[in-house]
Symmetry: none
Subunit: 224 residues, 4 copies
Amino acid sequence: MVHSSNTRSKDASGRLQRRAEARRLEILRAAARVFRRRGFAATGMREIAAEADLSSGNLYHYFRGKDEILYFCQDRSLERMLEALAAARASDASEATRLREVVRAHVRCLLDELDGSAAHLEVEVLPRELRDPIIDKRDRYERGLRRMIAAGVKTGEFARCDARLVTRAILGAANWTARWFRPEGPRSATSVADSLSDYLIRGLVADCDSPAAPRPAADSGGSR
Amino acid sequence: MVHSSNTRSKDASGRLQRRAEARRLEILRAAARVFRRRGFAATGMREIAAEADLSSGNLYHYFRGKDEILYFCQDRSLERMLEALAAARASDASEATRLREVVRAHVRCLLDELDGSAAHLEVEVLPRELRDPIIDKRDRYERGLRRMIAAGVKTGEFARCDARLVTRAILGAANWTARWFRPEGPRSATSVADSLSDYLIRGLVADCDSPAAPRPAADSGGSR
Amino acid sequence: MVHSSNTRSKDASGRLQRRAEARRLEILRAAARVFRRRGFAATGMREIAAEADLSSGNLYHYFRGKDEILYFCQDRSLERMLEALAAARASDASEATRLREVVRAHVRCLLDELDGSAAHLEVEVLPRELRDPIIDKRDRYERGLRRMIAAGVKTGEFARCDARLVTRAILGAANWTARWFRPEGPRSATSVADSLSDYLIRGLVADCDSPAAPRPAADSGGSR
Amino acid sequence: MVHSSNTRSKDASGRLQRRAEARRLEILRAAARVFRRRGFAATGMREIAAEADLSSGNLYHYFRGKDEILYFCQDRSLERMLEALAAARASDASEATRLREVVRAHVRCLLDELDGSAAHLEVEVLPRELRDPIIDKRDRYERGLRRMIAAGVKTGEFARCDARLVTRAILGAANWTARWFRPEGPRSATSVADSLSDYLIRGLVADCDSPAAPRPAADSGGSR
DNA sequence: TATGAATGAGATTTCATTCAT
DNA sequence: TATGAATGAAATCTCATTCAT
């Protein structure tokens, strides 16, 4: 009884907070869409506001400024990618399979109509304090990929290569999809993700006649 | 035969024109450097002017405006790439060799400290009249790559694949180098170009055990 | 006598009113503190709200707007000063003593940590309708001081002088304390008030050797 | 001969620089006028620009921003006051005469229609990097006054007092003139400066009957 | 009474571009 | 050819105020 008012007000404030959080997400999604279309620097706060359907002044209730919006966009998509990386690591499939899974998730995450954000591709524009944590995350992700590749090379599953360079080649090819992919085009995001990851992994797997003739059991291809 | 005075003035004007042309090139190179560092939208005319060591007002003696500078940057690097494409076509090596040659030239062109311009990577910002001819050239270039790949597939040199998608994967991986390559880093531009093209072509070549008998399987899946 | 129910509700409403009045005072004090720190124009409603520990929207339940807050700050401190002026007038001490009392009260009022408001120092920012009554009060106060000085001059207690100018000199010296006084400093507000009023009055009192026979060479005017 | 072009261009650039410097001064004067009327925070760049007769954007050719304009206003008037202080120190008149001279210069500097700047009165609004050097200068000036007073006390020319407090009283009375003085009023700036300094010094000088034998009494009380 | 959301006007500042010299 | 001055539009951001709850 006595607590009812407290409880109610607590509920109310909880509802409010949840609603505010939801609004923040909507804004981030809207911003990601505009950033993808026009790039960060060329996007105005007014455009973000229009896309999110609020006044430009009101944006500043939810975020400190344009930089912070970009920061959260980047953070969100990096988080998703790190999750995919962790999930792949947890599986016990071959390195090739795990790597393919990560690349597919990466591409799907970029191209996802609703939530997709290529925003993490523009990092240099942020001020130090916001850039550094993003770069940390990005590097953590890249390192994860590199280690997968290096591991595959060690087991002989992958051909010898400069793991760092190949990682970046894969990331480049994957990130580039955000530039050319059109949802109304002939192929779905999922199908693009599949084909692309196939191609990128194929360049990694050791040649079948394998120079020194390493293990017979290769990744995705039995006796091949 | 013209009179000496005419001749002299012609010479003089020729010298002047040549000098002006050289200055234009210097400016384009300077602009390309800044665009690569900061992106087009975030780059100010004053920054370009400072990098090219002239006053911002004076830029307008050489170019109509910022857009035109970007236009010529893009045009120049696309021209160089189209030349490399033509040169590769003229050779009679295998498709793989020719394609590798194009990719190597592409990467070297992007990373070349002096002339490299990653500027063609931002096309959408230009107004129609400047954008359209650039897009034409860019598409011509992409089509050239795609045809090489398709040809290789037809001869069985390359595995079956979606040539459009692989083309874009290759372009993505190659273009991305402009983002991460640091000239002071451990590898030279040429060495990066070599390794990257190796990896990208390897993903294309038909499985080693089947150069003479390409599998009947379809694109990216089939009976595999 | 009213009925109990009425009485009760009247009491309740009285309590409420009293409570609301107290809240208004708290807000005014908080606002005065912020105004003193940052100046009126540079102070935001949110800062006032934060200092008074309520939401910025809620400020508008107590005041019509920022201007009105400033108005009441100024009005309150002017009222206190006018009271001190009246009290001094009511005493039958010498002019010098009465004037010193007013100045001491003025300074203490400004420096008083809790209630002090230097806010009346910014008058011009208010819109006419709010500014005029404040200016009236301020002028009334200044006139009171001026008359004290003029009276002292007439009785020979003070040296001849431009009463208006000396009044303003005194007000300036007194008001300025609000800028430099720090409560954590070596001297208390009261001690500062004492010393300052001593100095300011000493400049007024007629030279010792001429209380009844002022020197022939007066202030700004030769043989007059 | 050969040098003539060089010389000419040098002259031209010298002229340009001088003109630019003159423009900067005009802007500072204009800004000082507006700051005096409306206060720093309440003054918009547009108002400054209008008063200085140029576009608001163009202000940024001459100054980094509003803060820097205030900084230079303050710096200029503090420089003038420090000069007056140094000049007074160089004279060999009595302490009272020297102090009076400084105060007169101070007031004239504030009220001077053309160059006067009360802008140094708002210091706290500046960011650290600009505020610190101003505060240094201001403190140097205040210290100069304080030492003059302390010296006068030592020689017996001035009555015993808290030199710091009296310094601030004098500064307060002097600075306050910027608030109430109207050039179209009955008294000239010079006349105000004279009368005010007379009054302020009179409060300092030792009682007339004791020039040779200053009372042993302490600070603010004694046998008076 | 109280709040957070919302807004529109206006602040400072930037910037591509033009112009006088 | 070259420059610095100048401008107007637009960008980001702030803020007093109002509103729904």
